[in-house]
């Protein structure tokens, strides 16, 4: 006998479904293997890094990485130029990437007050390296509690958001969400809700992932990377405000419509998860008032994951028939786990730096090995 379940799975739209209110990206910052900022990400749409991109330095001891593992560190990451040198060495790489991206996303026209400005960051476990090194000390030091107390806060998932808030005095909503490849979508959905429910007026929203020998070996051992896809890292942060809540002279980078997430248990079959993603996409399009044929570009999330890319592709075919133009960031930027959906959106926005001449609608999708699925609808601003 199967256990009773709380809810029957349904793909039928339900009565309470509403069209969503828009939230706008008013500024954005990214760090990736393509370099710093949005502009270099434009080349990703052509399936390559920008010509002359310098290879980023490998974080930590290069010899500790698994042999013959292709890795793509962030290129040209010079945190001291954004954050200054003071205290920099005490920050984990996750904190440095997040703080630098948030700092850049705060630049530009003066926005809402610091008390109504906050941060919503997506992660997987925080800084895996900091966690591992801190915990190692409990095993190898003379006493298990002879750990470095100054490293303790950096082992927490919310360290990056907390430290960045201190740096800029941002006392508004400060949240950290965990969700593997969906992390940025969870962050956007959380931020959307917080903005529309009046908890904040501006939220620096995004996700971050750091590269380390620890995570590289974890990927190697799990065999979860798709063949030929390097392991990457990065951060993408979007300053979000309610549409209409900022100066009319300010052109948004993008307008975000529905952001939906859902779940299907993978132990009931991967096809089941794929169908859930398809349902999630249909819901998001309906709630955005967008017909499938209006979607001009899809940036899928599972292209770097063995076994999952096909599941995602099938879900997209189910919704679109012939899929719209597809922008795969993973072969170019590497699999960046919890930064993934953020960099997918950033790569789309990199191609939208001029006003739309025709309606341009992007769909960002993601699918996690735990059965989580999600998507986001973004619209290119007109002139």
């Amino acid at each position: 006998m199967t256990a009773p379940v709380l809810m029957e799975t349904t793909e039928t739209p339900v009565g309470a479904e509403t069209v969503v209110a828009p939230v706008d990206v008013v500024a954005c910052a990214a760090f990736s293997a393509a370099g710093a900022g949005l502009a270099p990400l434009a080349a990703v749409a052509d399936g390559r890094l920008p010509a002359g991109t310098e290879a980023g330095a490998l974080p930590g001891d290069p010899a500790a990485y698994p042999p013959a593992q292709a890795v793509l560190p962030v290129s040209g990451f010079r945190p001291e130029e954004v954050l200054g040198r003071k205290g920099l060495s005490r920050l984990t790489r996750t904190e440095q990437l997040a703080a630098a991206a948030c700092t850049l996303a705060l630049e530009g026209p003066a926005g809402p007050a610091a008390s109504d400005t906050g941060i919503v960051l997506g992660t997987s476990v925080g800084s895996a390296r900091a966690l591992a090194e801190f915990t190692r000390d409990t095993f190898v030091q003379e006493r298990p509690y002879y750990v470095n107390p100054s490293q303790f806060p950096g082992t927490l998932m919310n360290a990056a958001a907390g430290r960045t808030a201190i740096r800029h005095g941002l006392t508004g909503v400060n949240a950290t969400v965990s969700g593997g490849p969906l992390a940025a979508l969870h962050a956007v959905r959380y931020a959307r809700g917080a903005l529309l429910n009046g908890h904040a007026d501006r939220l620096l929203t995004g996700a971050v992932e750091e590269l380390s020998a620890h995570t590289a070996w974890a990927w190697r051992r799990s065999g979860a990377l798709a063949p030929g896809v390097p392991l990457g890292e990065g951060a993408a942060v979007f300053a979000l405000q309610r549409a209409g809540s900022y100066g009319t002279g300010q052109r948004p980078v993008a307008r975000l419509l529905a952001c939906e997430t859902g779940f299907a248990n993978p132990s009931e079959g991967l096809a089941h998860v794929g169908r859930r993603l398809a349902a999630c996409v249909r819901t998001a399009l309906r709630r955005s008032g967008v017909a499938p044929e209006e979607v001009t570009v899809v940036a899928p999330g599972a292209a770097g994951r063995r076994g999952w890319s096909a599941v995602e592709d099938r879900a997209l075919r189910e919704v679109f028939g012939t899929s719209p133009r597809t922008l795969r960031v993973q072969p170019v930027l590497g699999e960046t786990h919890s930064a993934g959906a953020g960099l997918q959106l950033a790569a789309v926005l990199a191609t939208w730096r001029t006003p739309a001449t025709e309606r341009d609608v992007a769909l960002i999708t993601s699918i996690g090995p735990d059965g989580s699925v999600g998507c986001l609808v973004a619209v290119r601003p007109g002139a």
Partner: protein
Amino acid sequence: MSDRGTAGTATPAPRRVVVTGLGAVSGLGLGAREFVDAIRAGRSGIAPAEQFDTTGFERTLAGEVQGFKAEEHLRRIHPSRWGRSAQLAAAAARQAAEDAGLTEAGPAALRAASCFGTTNGESQVLEQLTAQWVGEGLGLLSPDLVEQADAGRIAAAVNAELGLTGEALTLGTACAAGNYAVGYGYDLIRTGEADVVLCGGADASNRATHAGFHRLGALAEDVPRPFDEHRDGIVTAEGGAALLLEPLESALARGARIYAEVLGYGMTCDAHHMTNPYAASIAECIRRAHRSAGIAPGDVDYVCAHGTGTPANDSTEVAAVREAFGGTVPPISSVKSMLGHTMGAAAAFGAVVCCAALSEGFLPASTTVRVVDPALGADVDCVPHRAREHRPRVVENHGFAFGGNNAVTIFGEFAA
């Protein structure tokens, strides 16, 4: 602030949100009933730690979940594939769903979500991976453990266990995360984004957390003594706590027992210091929660304190309450005196206690206080020693965290 909550498209009228199910897997018992009875009786869940090797630690007590056999609590997910935090969350969520009478394929509520808070995620999994690194090298990390490492699996486990197909969100806002989760769930129901939400928090007892607080000198010598003049710190603890939220309308329609109504919540960030609490920011968080709930400070009959039992927390918290309440302090107590500090589950356990206090008519005690710290003010009523028979109408639940994350939830009695 302008045009809050009204931007853009017309939204349906907000729905009232009620709690109709409770779950608790704790050092004070393996179900919400056992947990609440222990809280009312003032029992202690603190004992020698067994979840990690305490050799070499000077402080070796913890508030651990004793005798938890995951397979006896979980029906759909297999414990061998999930970390302990996910197991605790899923077990508590199943209890809450059963308590609410919503385990059978249900009424018209077809969109069910989960949101759970955590401080350390799958800390025991990460600890085992680190042990493998230290002992055998990174090249021999166990793939099975790697797959269990992400904190986001905590909410995923709840969805998998209960067959939920809605959102599964894990919040990593440290020791305030349980309240973040309740607040987010409240917004999902209120705005019609979901029709059922399982929310709460979970964390597992582990070596690294114990070592970190040990090194900071923040661990109590024996038990935590919130509000005591000689309080000397926390005791690390673990557990899973869950609440089932649904719209008032659906709870009434199906004749569900209603523990309490969620009236609102507030959040702030200190942006001040990573580990020291900050009274001004906590006071603002309380004011935001009051505004959100549409109540005045004088309406609050009881505060379920963050109350860790460190010297800094309790004095800062009382100062913040005093500031937000215009000089007075309502009865305020800490269930951490019995439970220890369950980290990301702490505020969710507090929320469970608040619901029980409203529906059963009691104020939980600060059981371990000996002499109330006079520096907190002579008027502080920390409900010393024994729970008090009293029927509060509005209660306030506190959760504060490293990183400066504060969240306060407000619950009210529901009179049919």
